[in-house]
């Protein structure tokens, strides 16, 4: 795959470090935190079991028989001793697995038994992007975006998962475990972030050609920031005011772009591909593939299959002088 444009990910990441932005062990939500703690408990117990077994194996290598001993001969005392030792080892194994099962079940009940949240999202897995609908009792406050979820810090958010094509799996490891988005079914998962930050997620169920490029971002921010963001997302796109971007809009509206994409406030009403009303405000395009810059948008439009081979977006023939205004226009959709 071709890399287009410099990729200064560190600059966009408020956490300032990429080691942990999609890590199950660098946790930023109560659920992921509990899971990581449990992980370490399991690891320590199981590692101890492994070490003990290996020590037993090493000690077993001492030659306790003479060269000419009959292999069929057994010493009843040794047999008895080994039977007792093995029985104890098995009993200990049983205690271990029963306690781990208990621990697992307790954690499962605590973490997954109840799912709710004041904010509810509908996330639809698509080949190969995420359609995100913010639900609201007031129909005019419902809006759709793609690949970037904003949530208020410290509040549980209920995510309903579904798929419109094949099976996907929604996974933001820093916040919680994964849940599949299955065709013909609905699953739910609860998200909660303890600290403001950007957490990356990715589709975890193989879903075809571009399974590798099906990322998403969860951005946790303070309540006021979140409400501001939400208010802006609900609103339609601002009509462009400079001629270059006006031309870009014209190009967008007269090309096949509108068959698939929607830009609220314009005539573009396609629902097949990501909603672009505020595409410029999102950090990535192509489902976490390219950082949103004017150059990257242009590169994506010129050759989407060079960036993400097999993507459902066709290559739209454009005149060279149409690219720049179009990219300008899209990038300005903040």
């Amino acid at each position: 795959m071709r890399r287009i444009g410099p990729f200064l990910s560190f600059a966009v990441l408020p956490l300032g470090g990429c080691q942990g932005w999609q890590s199950a062990l660098d946790t930023h939500g109560p659920s992921a935190h509990a899971l990581a703690e449990m992980f370490w408990i399991f690891v320590s117990i199981l590692a101890a079991v492994w070490v003990l077994t290996m020590i037993a194996l090493l000690l077993a290598l001492r030659r306790r028989r003479s060269v000419d001993a009959d292999p069929l001969e057994t010493d009843p005392r040794t047999e008895r001793r080994m039977t007792v030792t093995i029985s104890i080892a098995i009993a200990l194994t049983l205690v271990t697995v029963v306690s781990l099962t208990g621990l697992s079940y307790a954690a499962q009940k605590a973490l997954f038994a109840h799912k709710d949240g004041a904010l509810t999202l509908l996330v639809t897995g698509k080949q190969w992007w995420w359609k995100i609908t913010y639900e609201d009792p007031q129909p005019n406050r419902v809006f759709t975006t793609a690949n970037e979820i904003h949530i208020p810090v410290g509040e549980p958010v209920l995510v309903t998962l579904e798929s419109s094509d094949v099976i996907h799996s929604f996974w933001v490891p820093s916040l919680t475990g994964k849940m599949d988005a299955i065709t013909g079914r609905r699953n739910q998962i609860q998200l909660q972030a303890d600290r403001p930050g950007t957490y990356r997620g990715q589709c975890a169920e193989f879903c075809g050609l571009q399974h590798a490029h099906m990322g998403l971002l969860v951005i946790a921010e303070p309540k006021e920031d979140f409400e501001r963001w939400r208010a802006r997302q609900v609103s339609s796109a601002m009509p462009p005011n400079d001629p270059e971007r006006q031309r870009g809009m014209e190009i967008f509206l007269t090309k096949p772009c509108i068959m698939c994409h929607q830009i609220r406030g314009t005539d573009a009403g396609g629902k097949v591909a990501p909603d672009l009303t505020h595409v410029g405000s999102r950090r990535y395009i192509g489902a976490g593939t390219l950082e949103t810059t004017r150059g990257n948008i242009a590169a994506w439009i010129i050759d989407p299959h060079g960036v993400k081979p097999g993507v459902n977006m066709p290559t739209i023939p454009l005149d060279p002088d149409e690219i720049q205004p179009l990219a300008d226009y899209l990038e300005g959709l903040k």
């Binding site: 990729f7 098995i90 079940y105 038994a113 099976i167 065709t183 990356r200």
Partner: protein, 670 residues
């Protein structure tokens, strides 16, 4: 070495008398053809001895020369050798596809191969390793070794066994040829719907996968039937249930697991093909089908499948641990019962592959409990093997080195499996590289390392020559380091959020270094296999001659020549101990009275191993091969049109009629 047993000499095995004394067996008052006294005109093996007996039996049981002879053979050793070689070739092909994938993943955003080829590669890798290597390799060893170990002359249903091999070979060839033509399946070895359904996988790619399942399952089930029948009805006289070698027990339990598990996946793949070919809607939610049903069916097979791969390996481990500990197995009964328990429990775990599909919480947690519970019988086996080594006098040769590798790796993999059994933990690691690491620890640790041990151990029996010990040690060292360098870092990559089945990843994910280490490890690991191959080829030509029992082992296969004669044994041994060659060091008791001119075998009673009947084993025949070709035409054709089932059944029927055409047995002619 051998001495004939007489009727006065039967205190050890009071049951076997009839063949020797000519007394009637079976139910009193019931006339049976098998009870007829041996014909006086027919040469019996108590009438000739020494080299003449060997030569005459070899003629009776031998395979004819020439291509027709080679394709007609029903000798379990010839078929078994082909089975083993073919499965190992598929292991190399599967390994090669993995190496290419690792080259692609060595660097972030690598452009070596694109997503299409990558998806085909991981599908071929998984499919090959699971269906074309994992299941067949265990059965292949059984085909070769079980008849020898139970002391008989051929496997039960030898023609069915030959047919199975050709079906397996043709199925494997079909899918690899499709891959070479760039129409290989690209939906993963699990082929989840709807991705593999008609809407999202147009073309024939997914059909190749589904039809390959048909081939391998027909083959797998048929071999399993032969193995079970061999173990139940062809054991040497005196081999009571508690004298059956642990390897044979493992293969028996494995064969049962195959018979019960494979139909589930055949149901899944056949219904998938029907969805694709004739527009049924088993898996189409829009028409009332269910996408999740496929996963249940697939994993109802898929989890036992893991044990189908592991169980034969426990047989290899048991055989090798006992021989190289110079001590009989500690806890034989416990080991056998554990095997059976594993066989049963393996059918109750499948949902742990589906913990993230949104199943009811309580239901899912039952599968946590059952998945953890299987640690108990597996633990018993590990402890019994360690105890055997403990009280023995371990002789550290290459086979045992690989068994140490097995302990080190498999135990680690089994323990990380306990994490996956936990529903909450699984939600984090499921479908990530952590799982990839886990199951390679379990499968390579649990099958491939024991397989290497088994090849070093039985190579002298297969070829008559020893493998190089020096190369063997290098091979082990390289494989052990290569394996751990490849798969250990994957645990961390997975926890750092890298999902499975991605053909590339962004540089800023921070997975680059670990992936590079993994890829270098994979190259080392592959190099170890190249060394292994070299060792096989070189040793087969120039290795030191082995003799019948180079390791001074105790089970019956070591009583046969290396490589064994077509008849395996000149006279059928009488078993008085679990380790017959250790119990009868000076001479092995044998039973006499079988025909030298006909393919006669002893059929014992199931539990006590009393000689019960004489039964003729089928002669070589070309029909199984022809039937396999007809079946292949039918299977391949039915990927393209349902009419192939109609027209393709005609040649299949013809070949089957040829195969089963009643003919008077040589016995009856006289």
């Amino acid at each position: 070495m051998t001495r004939a047993i007489t009727s006065h000499d039967l205190d050890a095995v009071p049951e076997i008398t009839r063949l020797v004394t000519g007394e009637r067996g079976g139910l009193p008052g019931v006339e049976s053809e098998a009870d007829s006294p041996p014909s006086p005109d027919e040469l019996r093996d108590d009438q000739v001895d020494g080299p003449e007996l060997t030569a005459r039996l070899a003629r009776t049981w031998g395979t004819e020369k020439g291509i027709i002879g080679a394709l007609s053979t029903v000798d379990h050793k010839v078929i078994g050798r082909r089975f083993i070689a073919t499965a190992i070739i598929f292991l190399f092909l599967g390994g090669l596809s993995a190496v290419v994938m690792r080259m692609q993943l060595a660097l972030p955003e690598n452009s070596l191969i694109g997503p299409d080829l990558y998806n085909q590669l991981f599908t071929m890798h998984g499919t090959t390793m699971m269906f074309l290597f994992g299941v067949p390799i265990g059965e292949a060893f059984a085909v070769y070794l079980v008849p020898l170990m139970v002391g008989t002359r051929n496997i039960a249903f030898p023609r069915l066994n030959a047919f199975s091999y050709y079906v397996y070979l043709f199925g494997g060839l079909m899918i690899w040829i499709a891959f070479m033509l760039n129409i290989g399946p690209d939906v993963g070895w699990f082929a989840y719907v709807p991705l593999s359904g008609p809407e999202f996988s147009p073309g024939k790619r997914a059909d190749f996968w589904a039809q390959m399942i048909t081939f391998t399952e027909v083959s797998g089930i048929a071999v399993a039937v032969s193995i079970i029948t061999t173990v139940f009805k062809l054991r040497a006289p005196g081999m009571t249930l508690d004298r059956i070698p642990l390897f044979v027990w493992a293969e028996l339990v494995n064969a049962f697991a195959i018979i019960f598990a494979l139909p589930a996946v055949v149901t899944a793949s056949a219904t998938l093909m029907m969805d694709r070919l004739v527009g049924t809607h088993f898996y189409n939610p829009a028409e009332g089908g269910d996408a999740l049903l496929f996963q249940h069916l697939f994993w109802f097979f898929g989890h036992p499948e893991v044990y189908i791969i592991f169980l034969p390996a426990t047989g290899w481990v048991s055989a090798i641990v006992v021989t190289f500990s110079r001590r009989q197995a500690f806890g034989y009964i416990a080991l056998v019962l554990s095997l059976i328990a594993v066989g049963f429990l393996s059918f109750g775990l499948w949902v742990h592959h589906m913990f993230t599909t949104g199943l009811p919480q309580l239901g899912a947690s039952f599968f946590t409990a059952s998945s953890m519970l299987i640690a108990i019988p597996n633990g018993i086996q590990i402890f019994c093997w360690i105890a055997t080594l403990w009280d023995g006098r371990p002789v550290i040769r290459t086979p045992l080195l690989f068994i140490f590798g097995f302990f080190f790796i498999f135990v680690a993999g089994g323990l990380s499996g306990i994490m996956l059994a936990s529903v909450p933990l699984d939600t984090q690691v499921h479908d990530t590289f952590f799982v990839v690491a886990h199951f390679h620890y379990v499968l390579i640790g649990g099958n491939v390392f024991p397989l290497m041990a088994a090849v070093y151990y039985w190579f002298p029996k297969f070829t008559g020559r020893m493998m190089s010990e020096r190369l063997g040690r290098w091979h082990f060292g390289l494989a052990f380091i290569g394996f751990n360098a490849t798969f250990f870092p994957m645990h961390i990559t997975g926890l750092m959020g890298m999902p499975r089945r991605v053909y590339t990843y962004l540089p800023e994910m921070g997975w680059g270094t670990l992936n590079l280490v993994t890829s270098i490890g994979a190259a080392l690991f592959f190099a170890s296999f190249v060394l292994f191959l070299y060792n096989i080829v070189a040793s087969a030509r120039r290795g030191p001659l082995a003799g019948p029992n180079p390791w001074d082992a105790g089970t019956l296969e070591w009583a046969a020549a290396s490589p064994p004669m077509p008849q395996n044994f000149d006279r059928i041994p009488v078993v008085t101990n679990r380790e017959p060659l250790w119990a009868n060091r000076s001479s092995l008791p044998v039973v006499a009275g079988l025909s030298v001119e006909n393919r006669e075998q002893i059929v014992p009673t199931i539990t006590h191993g009393r000689a019960d009947l004489r039964e003729t084993s089928p002669e070589p025949s070309i029909w199984p091969f022809m039937a396999a070709i007809a079946a292949t035409i039918l299977f391949v054709g039915s990927m393209f049109t349902p009419w192939a089932l109609v027209w393709g059944s005609v040649p299949l029927a013809v070949t089957l009629i040829g195969w089963f055409w009643p003919k008077p047995s040589t016995e009856d002619e006289k």
